[in-house]
């Protein structure tokens, strides 16, 4: 039972780290503001999601798990709206071309 939990944790957190890695590579490699915004808003949100998923088996109970998920939801909502606002700014200042 413990082993199964740990496997989920290792897999989830590893996937999370991978997506953070990909997001950072994207931030460093992508050519302009808007494409970098893609890297940040998509990859990092997913990375956080996988980290949360990986940590779920390690939490004390259902409530703690739901709390983690609700934090992820907060971040998703904020990230989805804020990235639109940043994109709007970037397009208006003409750096997205």
């Amino acid at each position: 039972m413990n082993v199964a939990r740990d496997i989920i944790t290792v897999a989830g957190v590893s996937a999370g780290v991978f997506f953070f890695f990909a997001g950072t590579v994207g931030l460093l490699r992508f050519p302009d503001t808007l494409t970098r915004l893609h890297a940040l808003s998509k990859a990092d949100n997913l990375g956080l999601g996988f980290v949360v998923l990986g940590l779920l088996p390690q939490t004390g109970g259902l409530r703690d798990g739901l709390k983690l998920i609700s934090i992820w939801m907060f971040v998703l909502l904020a990230g989805a709206t804020v990235s639109q606002l940043i994109a709007r700014t970037a397009r208006q200042s003409g750096s997205g071309k």
């Binding site: 890695f21 971040v75 904020a78």
Partner: protein, 96 residues
């Protein structure tokens, strides 16, 4: 398990640092506006892992506050960035 999670924390932290380098370097303000968002995701991931590693359950509450306040900071970035665009003469769009 602890070693693995600590290593993961270290890696995400390194990614966070590199990402911040890339973002803060610019060139435009819109790039820098992403800083709070980056911390809102990567920083929270670090915090949640850290809470599990060190056995501090209240770290989740810190993550909650970090999520809300990072959002607030992001909005402030956008608003202030736009207010400057307005003085530059560009059309400020919806958020004046």
């Amino acid at each position: 398990m602890t070693e693995f999670l600590t290593a993961a924390v270290g890696l995400i932290l390194a990614m966070l640092g590199l990402g911040l380098v890339s973002i803060l370097r610019g060139p435009t303000d819109a790039d820098r506006m992403m800083a709070a968002q980056l911390i809102g995701t990567a920083g929270i991931a670090v915090l949640l892992l850290l809470g599990t590693v060190t056995g501090v359950p209240a770290a989740v509450d810190v993550a909650l506050i970090l999520a809300l306040l990072a959002t607030f900071a992001s909005i402030a970035f956008v608003k202030k960035g736009l207010s400057r665009l307005e003085t530059d003469g560009a059309d400020p769009g919806e958020d004046r």
